[in-house]
């Protein structure tokens, strides 16, 4: 690189963010010094134009931007139902509420599993993974019978089903053994017999129930795994979408791409991947819902930031952001006034009047926009 050009770039190092500088460097590769200088000037100008001005009420604008569209969503919510995604997902306003309130139990949890790159176009192999993931209980592959006379329980798997899933009789016996803590008495070709020491009918039945609900293969909580076709660059690749989610275990599975696999359950992402991933996921999900409403992504970024700022997903509302505000007056203005005021009195809290709500209550100009600036007299100059 020419020395002059390097100097130009250096000049802008402080003012432009790294990523933007890198990008402009790449774009101005073929330009001469003079042109580069001009481009850089223009880039800086445009960059400055896009910065938020000091005192801008970014939060209020973000809230209004989303709120306005949300009112429209209430009318549209019930229209979009069951696309060809295989697994139906909660959409529209209910989902938006779910995300913003960072609810502990989302209505429909879905894991979106991307197989490894080598096999993602191979339908058979992907199906195999799906079968392995889907939670299959004894009940799903056969019957459990009780023999009251001999005090036995007999497991009779459907041979066709087992063969399809590729399970051996031994495996079934092993799993049930683990669950009911009794050794199998006999393993025959098409049935397994257990003889637990159960003297009463009630206790025998309990064993039967336990055996029925034993997970033979799959991951706990994954009720259904569906194959989803995706077109990419003219080629079809396959993804697995699951009903129910258990990201922690899913990520341990072989033959999947853990980097591209995710879940729509925010609490689960937080538990397994941490707060940064939660922030990114919130942003992604919010963008997806509001896609057709064309909301500027900066508002959504701000909201995802606000929701994860404290290091854990914090809901908006009484138990979250609004209930944890610094100012007593602002908290009391929102909900549960008496509770907040009494608690503040007990602690002897002091309100510094830094926020918007408390200044409105007191009757001061709010520290936003034109209220941020003040006139002062330069005493030094007065002297002369």
């Amino acid at each position: 690189m020419a020395k002059g050009k390097k100097k130009i770039y250096q000049k802008y190092e402080e003012e432009l963010p790294e990523k933007l500088l890198e990008e402009t460097k790449k774009e101005t590769k073929d330009l001469n010094q003079k042109q580069t200088e001009k481009v850089m000037e223009e880039v800086l100008k445009e960059y400055k134009k896009r910065q938020v001005e000091p005192g801008e009420a970014a939060g209020a604008i973000a809230a209004q931007s989303i709120g306005e569209r949300a009112t429209q969503m209430t009318l549209k919510t019930f229209h979009v139902a069951g696309l060809s995604e295989g697994v139906s997902v909660v959409q529209g306003l209910p989902r938006l509420e779910e995300l913003i309130e960072t609810r502990k139990t989302p209505k429909k949890e879905v894991c979106r599993i991307r197989p490894k790159k080598e096999i993602e176009k191979n339908k058979e192999k992907v199906v195999k993974i799906a079968k392995k993931i889907e939670e299959t209980k004894t009940n799903d592959i056969g019957k459990v019978e009780e023999d009251l006379v001999e005090e036995k329980i007999i497991i009779k798997p459907d041979m066709e089903k087992i063969e399809k899933l590729g399970i051996e009789m031994n495996e079934i016996a092993e799993k049930i053994k683990e669950k009911i803590r009794r050794k199998p008495e006999k393993i025959e070709k098409d049935k397994i017999i257990f003889k637990p020491k159960a003297s009463t009918l009630k206790s025998l039945r309990r064993y039967v129930e336990k055996a029925e609900n034993t997970r033979i293969i799959g991951i706990e909580g994954i009720e259904k795994a569906t194959l989803v076709e995706k077109e990419e660059n003219g080629e079809t690749r396959y993804e697995i979408h699951t009903d129910g989610s258990n990201l922690k275990e899913v990520l341990k599975t072989d033959d999947i791409d853990p980097e591209k696999t995710d879940s729509n359950s925010i609490p689960e992402i937080y538990k397994t991947l941490g707060i940064e991933a939660t922030r990114k996921m919130l942003y992604k999900e919010l963008m997806e819902i509001t896609e057709e409403y064309n909301i500027n992504k900066r508002h959504i970024l701000l909201i995802s930031d606000a929701l994860t700022r404290s290091g854990r997903p914090t809901p908006i509302g009484r138990h979250g952001i609004s209930g944890e505000k610094e100012s007593v007056l602002a908290r009391a203005a929102f909900e549960e006034q008496i509770k907040h005021l009494l608690k503040a009195a007990q602690k002897g809290e002091k309100d510094e009047l830094k926020g918007v709500a408390e200044n409105i209550i007191v009757g001061n100009p709010i520290p936003v926009g034109t209220g941020m600036v003040d006139l002062r007299i330069d005493l030094e100059k007065q002297k002369n």
């Binding site: 005192g55 801008e56 009420a57 209020a60 604008i61 809230a63 209004q64 008496i338 005021l341 009494l342 009195a345 002091k350 918007v356 409105i360 209550i361 007191v362 009757g363 001061n364 100009p365 709010i366 520290p367 936003v368 926009g369 034109t370 209220g371 941020m372 003040d374 002062r376």
Partner: protein
């Protein structure tokens, strides 16, 4: 086990194995006259519902059996000759009443020709499936039903001659139109519905065109000449009443002109228009808030009569005044007695209300609008025949609303005004469009209703042909003069010292939370400060510097001090009165708030 439940007026009275059978049997009894004709029975969802209570809309239908209506020419002849009454038709099981619930079990044919074996009933006439407002609406089947429904509901708000005895009525308030007219395009039901004796509007000559941007967004333009000739002019009547109440110890109110001694005396001029009896003379002007009935009340507590003036009782002024914003002329005075024998006086005021810019007008097909301009007559366009419209209506209001009935009414009434005969616009059988066009053509008009018009301002011919017709327009009771309001300063609420709310209280317009949020978003901090503080409940309070509580000022001595700690180091602080109130309320729940003071910036 699976017996059908039987309900009488909503309460379960028993079970029956054959719901169809029992329902049929009850119906049969009703048709034979053994049960009241207003009783209805319906069966669905394995239940039988019998209804006899009040408040169900019921309507008559001809009973059909085996595809043949029970009503024959013979019956009609008999009814015509008065040998049979309508009532007899019920008794003989020819006609019966159905309510909405029983209609669910019926299959009703609109016309006799449509009848099949499956039908159970036949409409007496197709228009009987409509309510009264829809039935008197011309050509409703040509408009979208929603528009017709809107037009129907607006009829209820129309100014008209709502009672022939308006001049001796004492309704709290009412409007009446000076020159109500019968609609030129009417229906067969007009007379029965009372539209001919108590009309609700006038026939306007309407030109349909945009007019110099004054009829944007459903606005309409009125002809000033027509308005001056009392087009849609009306009166607003309001009645005030007052009683001579009796109290303990033989005291009572008195209708009289209050004297100067009376507590709360308003000043001499306020009572000049009252007669000797203290009641306003008819046909005198009364201002808003002016006295209508002069009245004095005895003092509330007898002790108030001080010992120094033993015999003199100080009476209180308790006159009845007109409402704020409601000036007018005294129209009528009625003096009578109430059930206790106390004197009761009612005074009715009247105010003429010519149409103003902002008043609401509507046609019966749901085309409503607000007056945007009252244009000088000489500036309005005129047609070849020299006819100028009473109203200009914007053509853009038609396509999206599909109110074809409105346009049909226009040419219908146009035809009627040429021929001198009412046009029939009854639903489903109104005079067809082709016939109207034919008649128009016969009299030398264009069959489309369009006419060549000339601009009133330039005198030039308007390039497009303008559709001109006559439409029955109602003036609705939403008058601007009853709604307009503005405030600079005015009364405040006692508790919060914020401006009052509502027009009658001279209130301001509220900056709500959403408006507040918008100002925050804009960063318009100073504007927000002005609306919420400076122009609202700003107050200056004294705050004690040492203990932080609100201090007081002794106005006589002119000194300020803190009542809770006695300190005299007190500062003036600007705050909202509601905040001061909040501090007081906090004290009431056992919290002592302290204010820390700091020099501003």
């Amino acid at each position: 086990m699976n017996k059908a439940s039987v309900y009488l007026d909503g309460s379960l009275i028993g079970f029956h194995e054959e719901p169809e059978e029992i329902a049929e049997e009850i119906r049969g009894k009703r048709r034979r006259g053994e049960l009241p004709k207003t009783l209805t029975v319906s069966n669905y969802d394995n239940s039988v519902y019998i209804n006899t209570d009040k408040g169900r809309a019921i309507r008559p239908l001809i009973i059909v059996e085996d595809g043949k209506p029970k009503l024959t020419e013979e019956h009609i002849e008999k009814v015509k000759k008065d040998e049979m009454s309508f009532e007899d038709l019920f008794k003989n099981g020819i006609i019966e009443y159905l309510d909405a619930e029983e209609e669910e079990n019926a299959y009703i044919a609109m016309e006799e020709e449509e009848l099949t074996e499956e039908h159970t009933h036949l409409e007496i006439h197709p228009t009987l499936s409509l309510g009264i407002p829809s039935a008197v609406n011309p050509y409703p089947e040509h408009s979208h039903s929603v528009r017709t429904a809107k037009g129907d509901s607006m009829m209820r708000q129309a100014m008209g001659l709502y009672s022939p005895t308006t001049n001796i009525r004492t309704d709290t308030q009412g409007y009446y139109l000076f020159y109500p007219q019968k609609p030129l395009t009417g229906t067969k039901y007009d007379e029965k519905a009372g539209l001919t004796t108590r009309p609700i509007g006038q026939n306007f000559v309407v030109a349909i065109m945009p007019y110099r941007a004054y009829n944007i967004d459903d606005a309409i333009i009125l002809n000033k000449g027509s308005v001056e000739r009392a087009l849609s002019r009306g009166s607003y009547l309001r009645t005030y009443s007052s009683k001579e109440r009796r109290y303990a110890a033989g005291q009572r109110d008195r209708f009289e002109i209050p004297t100067e001694e009376v507590q709360g005396y308003r000043g001499e001029e306020e009572y000049t228009h009252l007669g000797e009896d203290g009641i306003a003379n008819p046909e005198t002007e009364v201002e808003a808030g002016g006295v209508l009935i002069g009245k004095t009340s005895p003092p509330r507590f007898l002790e108030e009569t001080s010992e120094l003036t033993p015999m003199e009782e100080k009476r209180k002024e308790d006159s009845k005044t007109t409402r704020p914003n409601a000036a007018g002329k005294v129209d009528w005075v009625m003096a009578t007695e109430d059930e206790n024998g106390s004197r009761l006086v009612k005074v009715r005021t009247r105010k003429t209300m010519p149409p103003l810019v902002g008043d609401k007008f509507a046609a019966r097909s749901g085309q409503k609008g607000v007056v945007g301009l009252i244009e000088d007559e000489e500036d309005l366009p005129w047609s070849e025949n020299g006819i100028q419209p009473d109203m200009i209506f914007n053509s853009h209001a038609v396509p999206s609303r599909m109110t074809v009935g409105h346009l049909l009414e226009a040419i219908g009434s146009k035809k009627a005004s040429i021929e001198g005969e009412k046009t029939d616009g009854t639903a489903f059988e109104g005079e067809p469009k082709e016939k109207l066009e034919e008649t128009l053509e016969k009299h030398g008009f264009r069959p489309t209703g369009k006419e060549i018009m000339y601009d009133g301002k330039t005198g030039r011919r308007i390039e497009a042909k303008i559709f001109v017709g006559v439409v029955y327009y109602e003036r609705l009771e939403h008058l601007v003069s009853k709604k307009i309001r503005a405030r600079s300063t005015g009364p405040v609420q006692i508790l919060t010292r914020q401006p009052t709310e509502g027009r009658s209280r001279k209130g301001g317009l509220r900056i709500g939370v959403m408006e507040r949020d918008c100002l925050i978003s804009h960063g318009a901090s100073m504007l927000l400060q002005e609306r919420l503080m400076d122009e609202s409940d700003e107050t200056i309070q004294y705050v004690c510097e040492s203990c932080g509580s609100i201090a007081v000022k002794n106005q006589i001595k002119g000194e300020t001090y803190c009542e809770s700690c006695g300190s005299k180091e007190v500062e003036k602080v600007k705050m909202s009165y509601t905040f001061k109130l909040l501090l007081n309320e906090l004290k009431s729940i056992g919290i002592k708030p302290k204010l820390g003071l700091r020099d501003k910036a």
